[in-house]
Symmetry: D3
Subunit: 297 residues, 6 copies
């Protein structure tokens, strides 16, 4: 006979998830998908299954993905040299064309994974249904080409998909008022969409453990921040380079109505489930006023 | 720091539930609630939480309960002696009145527990909405009073409750064509309701491990039976007394369209979750043709 | 041949009801059911038929019932002595259990009568769907046990039943924030429900003719009171004991949006029809500002 | 004080109507409106109130009216002589124009009366929404002009009006396949509409008591006929002239699914209410198989 | 072979209509139908086809018609002399009866034409559904009988028809608070309906070219007026007699929310299409603030 | 002043489109988009505007596009040599990746054009929503890699988009039962989708005039073919190479319920409008039994 205690433990795990499932039933969750969780096949499968479970238990997930390294690979394949200014890709017409092709491929690949675990998914770009309208984004005052800043999110198509039981998988490309194509930073796009959709959670899958109070000391990982603390911390100047715009995004999202923003370590298996369904926090949570992270019985 | 492996195990348990949740999404599940699971407060809380989780992840549970021992207690309190013929309670007018009062109390007590864990529940009897119509049931040719056999299930009220997000909690009392009240065996009522509602599962919470091939030998517990095997087994004469009508009920339910019937050991904590969400079978499953019990990846 | 004049008179009666039916089409009507109308079988049948007719011609009746004398009977049967403080029943755990059982029995009995005249009905208590939330009610500063004062009415379940063509029959039991059961005065419950449901009418079936200007002089029956007059009258100190809280309830209901409150003599056959469909007022009507009682053509 | 017995009698009348109201709740009732009930103002008001009450208690009345004498009056006013062949009006272009004008006036007059008693009504002709399609009807082989026989009923507009709470008031004019206007016998139109709408009742308001077994002997009024008896009677040759096509219409309607057809004496006040809501039959009822006329408790 | 250039030109015409169709998709358009466009059969067919096309491409047309000359004809036929005071018809009971008959005939004739080109239409008067409520309109202080001024538009019936895909064809008759019939000036009725329906366009089909700056000089036709200019012009005193109330109507409609009002020359074939779908303006347009007439690519 | 005759001619063109618009109102139209109409920018703008107009006047267009020459260009850019067997592209993993990227780019480019003329559009591949399921397609018995033959069309996502007012723009990529990606011939995909959607029209935009009776003689262009004639013609062996599978597709589509299939010359401006809205046929029409091409008044 099998070990009954083990099975009872399993039941216990499921029951522990109950208050989380109740609390977020019907809630929109935006997941910014990127980093290792997108390039490592085993991690990718885990994330997709996590999203599948989130959807089945009543959450309404929205996926926003980037495609960074893959774009650079194809730019090089085409005989060009990828160029960046302040972390933003210089995007001429040719680069824009390649970026759109690569992001489209990544997009359909995610849809493919989702369908394979039985989740209805539909991949769109911000051009479909005029979902993302942008204006040109300067980089420190310099024109770096077709890099866009979101000025409007038309939620029609996203809502249509969600209401009809499809998970929207969105690649961060938009059009300006003249219907020209622009590349958008995926973090920015996720933040704009979470705000427009009044999402209850916005989770960034990253390749870091979270926010460190001292970037050089891994023992200083911050577990929770109120938005006031986050702003103070940002002002302190101790925030490391790549984290700076991400943290600013988090603060903006909270201020515009998203209840909880998570910077998750996408290298941990099932990080979404652990963060959303258990009392084990993964990475750093920035919380709106009056929000709590766990539901202890 | 906490033990990461433990947490990953937790995530793994949740993910294992995925195919079960997908398969039964939107399915109606009738739970015949009785035995220790109803009298032991700790077990009761577990069952209610299991039902809460079933509902949250998209199942549509319907609870049918009995109240056997409690009825006898109150009959005695009223100065009468409980009387049975072939396992059926002799039910005169006075006993019927007491039975209805006691079942009503049990009914609201279950509702109370459900509401306390955040599940919308509504307790009804088979008289409400004319849900259960009966005719007098004879016991071996003998008139034993107001004991009814279900002749019709009007699903209007049950469906109304389910569609509006309430768990129906049903006590097994019905009316005959003259609107007289009758007591109904709870197993019979559960079976009739599961059939009328085209339930995908019918689970009996009992105080036994399941069906034994040899009632005297606990090592002969049967894990799975096809309906043909169950009929053969029933014909063999080896089925113990109390199990006989229950097994017949199971067979009837399968033949009328219920896909899976489970005789569960209600004394095991979270037996519903274990049976419905994991590869650990609890008790005996009777399966319709072409149905499988587990979803191994 | 039959007397044609008689038949024309019948038609005339039906036509007289026309303006009342038009005016209250679709209106919610809360009937507090109690007194002789509940204990006398002939009267009970009449009331139920009245309610059936009200429903058929487009009203939306909601029944709230008590069970006073019957509860005392069963308390005594259980070997206890009913105890009251200022008209409120002292309710210990055991008494609460009996009260719930008795009210449940009364509840299903009313449903049974309704179904027998072809009206879809569903009996619930305030625990179902968390309909009635209460806090402990003191009696002149004294803790008298599980006697509750309504603090919230969740109309979800009542509305679900009405929209799906069932008459809700409600027994006045609720739960506090800890999901403990409490007994509620039926008049109070009816008043709270009428207010929460924005009922156009609230009718109390009583065993008195109505409100007397001089409680000792039956010739001083008051036919109509505005809410201002009712308050003045209440302040005058001439209101008899039992009538005092009822009149206060009437005033509260009007102030919270119920248009007309009726104190009806439930001993008069078809008192509901007479009051609602003819120019013959029964008992005392308390009217909101600008409301009239009759519709003379 | 008023006579209480009188009031109780009133309540009793209302209660007697209960089974009728229950049985026909939601049923479509086609009333062919004509004769004195249309020309006598007092009777007209009564009929309209009857229809108002029918609607309020849940019936779905559809009115079809004629305009016979009024048309002849205006034909004469225009200097022409009304001409008939076998009871059908010879209808040249000029007569057709006058018929349409007069019927339109009658139509709006009925709407006006209905609106004045608070009933939402909409008057249409069979041309609106292409409701009535006809072909030319010969009279004993003779072409008598624009007299039409209904070949199709498009129920779209009628259904739209009913579903949106309007009583359709229909004048019997239709168009042929070339969109030419035709006058239709109102009895024929009512019969065709009742059939197409699957009405449960079709009532002809006439100026006779009903069908006599012997047209010359008023003591031989027939109260009920099955459709088989009606056909036999028709074959017997004892049916008087004007009644012959009407009886044929009744038989046709029953055969095509209308449950009950009534030939009512429109000269009796409130004849619709008496027939539909009491045990006092007015005129002659032709019943489909298995249908009964009264509901005695 | 055919002339390809001609066909390309045709395609070009269709494409030119694109921005107009896009802009007015789903918009309600009230057309006051009168003048030659109603009396000349060829023009009538054109207008009906124009309306059919408007409806098919997504507009929601509402037709309001008069019947002026025809009423006078029938008044004379009845031996009376038509009488006018300040352009308003003196309307005694007899005249009112004739007006209603004639307008009813005109109404059904328009419906007939629409149905013949495959458009679902329903003809109503303002009495149906109590659509138009009026009070007596004095003419320069003089009582001229049953001439009404619209005090309320009940849009229930019109909306029901539009939502169910019928074009409402409305004749300008209404009732006062006592349900008496009144004749209404068709321009006034169209204006009141356009306002109540929040129409985007109101078009008057007239027998003039449009508004002239100098009524005596046809070269001074005004193509566009803002509402401010229109008021100024009205105040200038240069507006000719018949045009004065019409222009006042236009101004009122704009002020109450109609975006564009057109005074069209109904004598020009397909004037509705030309005005609504091409860059060729017909007659005079009065525009609300910020509205433009054409959509040049 | 402008030439009035010219404008009247314009109105006439619009009116000529009326019967076509009426007939195809609400009809689904699948357009296989390819050839010059996709590569020539001026033609592309025309086609998009045509589709915009089709949608606005009530058609439900579905676009299926290929990307042939562009794929070969990128295959070469990646240093490979495009290879074909019997007209089907040999598709290894690397080629499949490029094909998906290029088709994705083409897809979003079409969406971009549509949005720029105000049409809501959503670009999907057959992987989204599991829309296109395929099995491997052999070319004359030879395995040529990831080339798929449609075995199932799941219409959920397409229908969701149409019902919510988006034009679906579909690129012909699908997945097999193991969720592997496959390239599909665009003609085949269009044919499968038209059949699954019960389209009333399927139009192939090509770079030929249509089907010639003698491929070498341009004077033998065939204007109309019944499906029987088309089969006979196919059997005759006179059909030129590229046309053979296309004609077979046409025949299959008709046999499976598409009413009309058009082989249009996409090099002619506005060929869709000319074919769908005028009496000027473009290219070859294959008609189902009883279908006609033109609607002459």
């Amino acid at each position: 006979m099998d070990n009954m205690e083990l099975w009872l433990h399993k039941a216990q795990v499921l029951i522990e998830a109950l208050p989380y499932i109740q609390h977020f039933n019907g809630a929109k969750i935006v997941v910014k998908y990127g980093g290792s969780a997108m390039t490592d096949n085993a991690l990718k499968k885990n994330v997709i299954k996590d999203v599948a479970l989130l959807k089945l238990v009543g959450f309404k997930p929205i996926i926003v993905h980037g495609g960074g390294k893959e774009i650079s690979k194809w730019v090089k394949l085409s005989g060009m040299t990828p160029e960046f200014v302040n972390g933003l890709r210089v995007t001429d017409t040719k680069t824009m064309e390649i970026a759109e092709m690569v992001l489209g491929k990544v997009n359909k690949n995610l849809v493919q994974y989702m369908e394979s675990v039985g989740v209805k998914a539909a991949g769109i770009s911000g051009k479909d249904g005029n979902t993302l309208t942008v204006k040109k984004k300067m980089s420190a005052g310099k024109d770096i080409g077709y890099v866009g800043e979101v000025t409007n999110v038309n939620t029609d198509l996203i809502d249509t998909l969600i209401e009809n039981d499809f998970v929207p998988v969105i690649c961060p490309i938009g059009m300006d008022d003249n219907y020209e194509s622009y590349n958008i930073n995926a973090d920015d796009a996720a933040c704009a969409i979470a705000t427009a959709e009044h999402a209850q959670k916005l989770a960034f899958l990253t390749d870091i453990e979270g926010v460190y109070r001292d970037p050089l000391d891994q023992s200083t990982l911050i577990s929770e921040l109120t938005v006031a603390e986050a702003e103070e911390f940002l002002a302190s100047g101790h925030v490391g380079g790549g984290m700076l715009p991400k943290l600013q995004n988090c603060i903006d999202a909270i201020k515009q109505g998203v209840s909880r923003v998570h910077i998750l370590d996408g290298r941990i298996e099932h990080c979404l489930l652990l963060e959303f369904f258990t009392d084990r926090g993964i990475g750093t949570a920035i919380l709106g006023d009056g929000e709590s992270r766990y539901f202890n019985e």
